[in-house]
Amino acid sequence: MLLGLFWALLAGSLVGLQNIYNSKVNEHANSWATTTLVLGLGFLTSFLFGLIFEGANMFRLEHMQMWFWFSGIIGVGVVVCMVNGIKLLGPTYAVSIVMTSQLIFALLWDSLGWFGLQQVPFTWKQLVGVLVIVAGIFVFKFGGLRQPSKSVAQGK
């Protein structure tokens, strides 16, 4: 559990950092150019790490299933929805909803154990935990309204 916690915290910090970097790129390039660059670099780095840690195993893909080749399209869906959500709602509101939705679907997937992942049975305690986290997100994002949500009015 501690190992999982460590990796989740590291991944989360890097997501925060990456969001800052990407938004700087987005100031000068459109979102598709930014996405292409980000995914291209991500591929190269992952491939390189794979070669370092796994060697020739990187080329052994006999257990590939057809749909694995299309999973990357999910990332494109993320970009389309994020860009439009932020355009219509403003960053503060949009990101709060996105994070809430991430948690709702996480709980759903854990409970259903779809895709052959280990099932984590649903309990009311988990729902309460998620609701407290969601409340925390909204307090963080809207508390004292540190960011002026200027684009909210324009979207409608």
Binding site: L9, V25, W32
Partner: protein, 141 residues
């Protein structure tokens, strides 16, 4: 309303991405999964970029080189995300991940790093993070 639907779907896709990567990792390995999803994502994004044709909006030269390297972080992000999901489940992983993500945003804001407008340390953001940590503890009680 449309904005809400987009934001809601974005969250669903982000979680789905983590789940799909974990599933693919079981069969072919984690680095392989990270490489393949980003390669196919890259090709799709490139195709769309060619259709969109807004060439004026590709001025990477005006961006500080450091900021262009954000994508490289994704290798570790995906590896960490997959490992955490396999060890602790999706809900716990996403919860901890969001705490770290907002915690980092908070640190950057109050210190004014990366040329971000410096913000004063505010109580609500601190309370928000404490509430999120409390929520994660409830998950694991």
């Amino acid at each position: 309303m449309r904005g809400l639907i987009f934001a809601f779907l974005a969250g669903a896709f982000i979680t789905l991405q983590g789940v799909a990567n974990s599933r693919i990792s079981q069969d072919i390995g984690t680095w392989q999964a990270a490489a393949i999803t980003q390669m196919t994502g890259f090709v799709t994004a490139l195709l769309i970029l060619m259709f969109v044709r807004e060439s004026k909006w590709r001025q990477f030269k005006q961006v500080k080189p450091l900021y262009l390297t954000g994508g490289a972080l994704a290798a570790i992000i995906i590896f960490g995300n997959v490992t955490a999901i396999q060890q602790t489940g999706v809900t716990f992983t996403i919860s901890a991940l969001l705490i770290a993500q907002l915690g980092l945003t908070f640190l950057v804001d109050i210190n004014g790093w990366f040329g971000v407008v410096k913000q004063k340390m505010k109580l609500p953001q601190f309370i928000g993070i404490v509430m999120m940590i409390a929520g994660v503890i409830i998950l694991r009680l």
